[in-house]
Structure formats: structure tokens, C-alpha cells
Amino acid sequence: MTEWLNIILQGVLIGGLYAMFAAGLSLIFGVMRLVNIAHGDLIVLAAYVALMVTTSLGLDPLTSLVLVVPAMAIIGYLLQRLLLNRTLGDDLLPPLLVTFGLSIIIQNGLLEWFTADSRKLQAGAIEVQTFQVMQGVWVGALPFIQFIVAVAVIAGLQQLFYRTALGRAFRATSDDQSVAQLMGLDTRHVFAMAMALSLAVVAIAGVFLAVRANFDPSIGPARLIFGFEAVIIGGLGSMWGTLVGGVILGVAQAIGAQIDPGWQLLAGHITFLVILAVRPQGLFPKVSG
């Protein structure tokens, strides 16, 4: 009994990480209907940026967020302003193919620069600290922090969307781009801000990913798929939905891994496909794709 409780709890905590993968993806889809195929590779890029920051400045991984988050946000702003804004329009192909090309460029750029060796960020003593929640059920300090951060990130995005001027601009362009423009919004800037915010979340996700497990340049696409599955399970456009989606995915993978190590990823994918079959709009749908 406690064995399964432990497993499910681990799955829930990993789900927080998946929710962070998903939140950035969901944000830009909500604002500009862009699906960023390079999203997973940008998460890995953030992990490598954190690796450079921690090794060159001797910072603790969690402290390095102070530099990695703004760095990724700036990359996001420029990426949108200089490249991705050109691809937006009625045609589906350009954004899809340009972000696909970007994904290949980031993967191979990282491969060229950092080689295919597995890396990991060292967070020190906190990595092995655990505490007991109840008799026989233990929680790692780091996964716990990661989950709390995920909840905070999603609550923060939710607040930003509904309480700030920037959030209003996001919602306005999301509802009707041309009317938003008529109201004096510079949509190019609004889109770039959305991408900056998306990559700020990516930065946090990337650092936690890099502390939790080994990473190398090739693991991006799988992170994109986890994020995407969490978005669809949760329902397009719903921020809290991404958290539920991430948790469901995390728990499914944890249970699958317990049954047979080969079934970890498969269990996650199959859960996603089943939800797609019985409830294609996701659990908490908000916008139609």
C-alpha cells in the first residue's frame, strides 16, 4: 500500500515538471496560436545555459535561475521579434516548419558545442534530502521544491493573465488580433513578450530538469512531447489544466515504470491517447484549436 502511495506521489511531483514544460507551450499557443516544435530543445538549451553559469561562476543551480531566466527571456523576445513573427499568418506551414528547423539547429548546435556527453547540474546536499510525510511515505526535498515552484509559476501566469496590463494585451490579441491592433496594441511586441515569458518558464523547467537527471542535446523532442501531452490532457488554453495534465502524465509514467521499466513512457503515451479518444477537448478546455 505505502509502496504504491510512494510511487503515485513521485509521479505527482514529476508532474509539476511536466506542467512547467506545458505552461510555456500553452501560453504561446493561447496568445498567437503558435505551436513551437523547438520548445523541448529550448528547455535543453536552458539546461546548458545553467550548466555554463554554474560552472563558470560557481553558483548553485537554483541561484543560477537569477541569470538563466532573464537570459532565456531575452532569447525568446529576440527569437520572436526577429524570426517567428515573420512566420505568423493564416498559413499553418511556415511556423511549424521554421520551429522544426530551429529544433534541428539547436540540437546540432548543442551537439557541436557540448558534445553528446551526458551532463548533470550538481545541487549539493539538497539533492539527497528527504522528509517523511506519513508512516513509510517519503518525499525528496528537491522534487517537493520543484512541485511548489511549478504551482507558483502557474498561479503567477494566471495572475498575470487576468490582473495585469500585459495579460490584458495577451488576452486581447488572443481574442482578435486585428481589433487589438486597432486599439493601439503593437502585436509584434505583444507576441515577443509572450515568447519571452514562455522561455522564462522554460528556463525554470530546464534548470529543474538538469538537477533531477542527466541530460544531453538529444532529449529535447521527448520533453516537447511530454509538455504537449500535458496541454492536451488538461485542455487547450487552461493554465491549471496543464498542471492536472502534467500530474496525470507523471502518475501514469510512474505506475507504468513500476509494472515494467520498459512501460514507463508507453504508459504515459497510452494514457494520453486514451484521453484523446474519449475526451478530445481535454479535461478543462478553454479555447478551440
Binding site: F100, N108, F228
Partner: protein, 345 residues
């Protein structure tokens, strides 16, 4: 009143030249075993496979608007079906290629039912998930080597042809024939009534729908047909390699990234695009492959540049500048005034 009758003409001067050139090229290629060495034959067979894969993806994405990044699902499925048929059921490898196509098409129907629930770019990633599921399932099949893969048994290989040379010739001709069949089927499809509907969907889906075209139905049909062809090509690719593993069979780089770059660079939504794209791709590969991963980086950058500044690709530029078409696919309305009866108006 004058009555104007009309006929629809497909051919233009450039397409007549194009067809003649293609015929001559095909004859030369069919005779390649007599003028080319082993390396040339292997390279050409690989070129054919990519022409076929890119043409099929072009039909799917360029015409039917179904941008899939998961076609490796069907390349791998075809390969695994071939190995399963040969190893477990003892089917002759060449027969297995032709069985793999229809079986994969059957599997594609429920896959379409599921992934078609996602629209646009989310459909793209959904197809990728399916490919991942196929890859993970393949690595669970212990009779086919599980995660580490398996080689085709020597007995089955020898059953194809007694000598290595004869076998290589056979695979070469099979590859050429399969690609010609795939291309001919696509051309025939595009010249048919359904082709007109497809071209309409390519140009404007909403307008096509309101003109009474059953867009959804046509998309499902195209998806299943493309799965059919892609799996046969996949089966042939792995028959040539004589070895299969989940990672090579369901590789997103080899069977989707390259195929997309080929189609985009050559010209998406045009039948000539994938052929031109494949030629450019192989020239780039032969000259830049020493660069390792930098070469993929360059490919990605070239595809982005083409997508942004020449979205119709190289053949699109040429076709628009000179009005060329290599194959008689366009429809030209030829108006002929017939004899007037009664007063001239």
C-alpha cells in the same frame, strides 16, 4: 449566339519536354546496373527511397494540408512488418513488401481516427506521439530482437537471389520500380477528379469546403494512401539495410526531418519539388557530410531561409518565373468558338 465549347488540356510545351526528359532519364536509370558500380547503385536506391518518401509527404502536407511530423511511424512499421513476415511467417521478402503496404494502411485507419481529433500543429505533434508509441512497442517485441534489433536471416536473404550481385540488382530495380509506381500513382491521383479537389484544398480549404468538397473524407483517404506507400518504401529500405532496430526504424531525423527539408527546399505543393529537393539534399550530403552535426545545422538553416523567403521552394521559383511544369498536371481551359447558328451576336 455563338456557342463556345471547351476542352481541358493538361499538357504544355514545357511538360512535353519534361515528360520526354523523364522518359530518357528513366531508361538510363533502369540500365544503371550495367553502367554503375556497387556504390552508385546503393546511392541511387537511397535517392529513390527519399524521392518516394518526400513525394508522399508532399501529397500529405502540401496538398491535403496534413502536416505530419510522424511519418517515421509508417517507415518503421513497414520495416518491422517486413521483418516479422519474413522471420516469423517465412514469407518471401519481396512478397512481404507488398503485404506490408495494405496491412499498414489498415493500421493507419484507427491512427487517423485518433490523430484527426487534433488540428493543425497539434495534429503534427500527435502524429509524433503515435510514432513514439510504435517505437516503444517495437522494442517490446522480443522475437524481433527487442530494443537492440535484429538482422534478416541469411536463408531468407539467399532465397531472394543466389548471388550478392543478383540480389543487389533486384533491390535496385525494386527501389526504382516502387518509386516510379508511387510517383505515377500520385500523378494519376492529381489528374483525377480527386486531384482537382486536393488542389482546391491546398489553395484554400474553406473555399474548397464551400464548393462542396468533402474535405474531411478526402483527407482520411489521403492519409491512409500515404501510409500505404510510406510503409512499402520503409519495408524496402530495411530490406536493403538487412538489419532493423527501433531507433533506426522510427528515426525522426532520417525519415521526417530530412524528408521535410527535401520537400520544403525543392518546393512544397508541387510534384516536381521533392525530386528537385532530393537531388539538392544528396549533393549537400555528399559535399558537407564531413562536417558532421554542422551539416544538419546548415540543412535546418537553409530550410528556414527557404520557408521565409521562398516559401514555394526552388521549383516554385522556377515554375512561377518561367511557367514551367515538368509533368502535365495543370488544367488549361481551351475555348473554341464553334459554328454559329443564327444571327451573329
Amino acid at each position: 449566339m455563338s456557342v463556345v465549347s471547351h476542352t481541358v488540356q493538361h499538357a504544355t510545351r514545357s511538360s512535353r519536354i519534361g515528360v520526354a526528359l523523364i522518359a530518357v532519364t528513366l531508361i538510363a536509370l533502369a540500365l544503371a546496373p550495367f553502367w554503375g558500380d556497387r556504390q552508385t547503385l546503393r546511392l541511387l536506391a537511397e535517392v529513390y527511397a527519399f524521392v518516394a518518401l518526400a513525394s508522399l509527404w508532399n501529397l500529405l502536407a502540401g496538398y491535403a494540408g496534413l502536416v505530419s511530423v510522424g511519418q517515421q511511424a509508417f517507415v518503421g512499421l513497414g520495416g518491422y512488418l517486413l521483418f516479422w513476415l519474413v522471420i516469423v511467417l517465412g514469407v518471401h521478402p519481396v512478397v512481404a513488401i507488398f503485404v506490408a503496404g495494405p496491412v499498414a494502411a489498415l493500421i493507419a485507419i484507427p491512427v487517423a481516427a485518433l490523430t484527426f481529433r487534433l488540428r493543425g500543429a497539434y495534429f503534427a505533434i500527435g502524429t509524433w506521439v503515435v510514432a513514439e508509441v510504435f517505437r516503444l512497442l517495437a522494442s517490446q517485441i522480443s522475437v524481433l530482437g527487442g530494443g537492440s534489433g535484429i538482422s534478416l536471416p541469411a536463408a531468407a536473404v539467399i532465397a531472394m537471389a543466389p548471388t550478392r550481385q543478383a540480389r543487389e540488382f533486384e533491390i535496385y530495380w525494386l527501389a526504382l520500380a516502387l518509386t516510379v509506381i508511387v510517383l505515377a500513382a500520385i500523378v494519376a491521383l492529381l489528374r483525377s477528379r480527386h486531384g482537382l479537389a486536393l488542389t482546391a484544398i491546398r489553395d484554400n480549404e474553406l473555399a474548397a469546403q464551400s464548393s462542396g468538397i468533402g474535405v474531411f473524407r478526402i483527407k482520411i483517404i489521403i492519409y491512409v494512401l500515404v501510409a500505404f506507400g510510406t510503409s512499402m518504401v520503409g519495408a524496402l529500405i530495411f530490406l536493403q539495410k538487412l538489419r532493423i532496430s527501433p531507433d533506426t526504424a522510427f528515426s525522426v531525423n532520417d525519415w521526417t526531418a530530412f524528408v521535410i527539408f527535401i520537400t520544403v527546399i525543392g518546393g512544397i505543393g508541387r510534384i516536381e519539388g521533392p525530386i528537385i529537393g532530393t537531388i539538392i539534399f544528396f549533393i549537400m550530403r555528399q559535399t558537407l557530410s564531413d562536417l558532421g552535426s554542422l551539416y544538419l545545422l546548415i540543412m535546418g538553416a537553409v530550410a528556414i531561409v527557404v520557408m521565409l523567403w521562398a516559401p514555394k521552394g526552388l521549383w516554385g521559383l522556377i515554375a512561377e518565373r518561367y511557367g514551367w511544369q515538368a509533368l502535365p498536371l495543370q488544367r488549361h481551359l481551351v475555348l473554341k468558338p464553334t459554328k454559329t447558328s443564327g444571327r451573329p451576336s
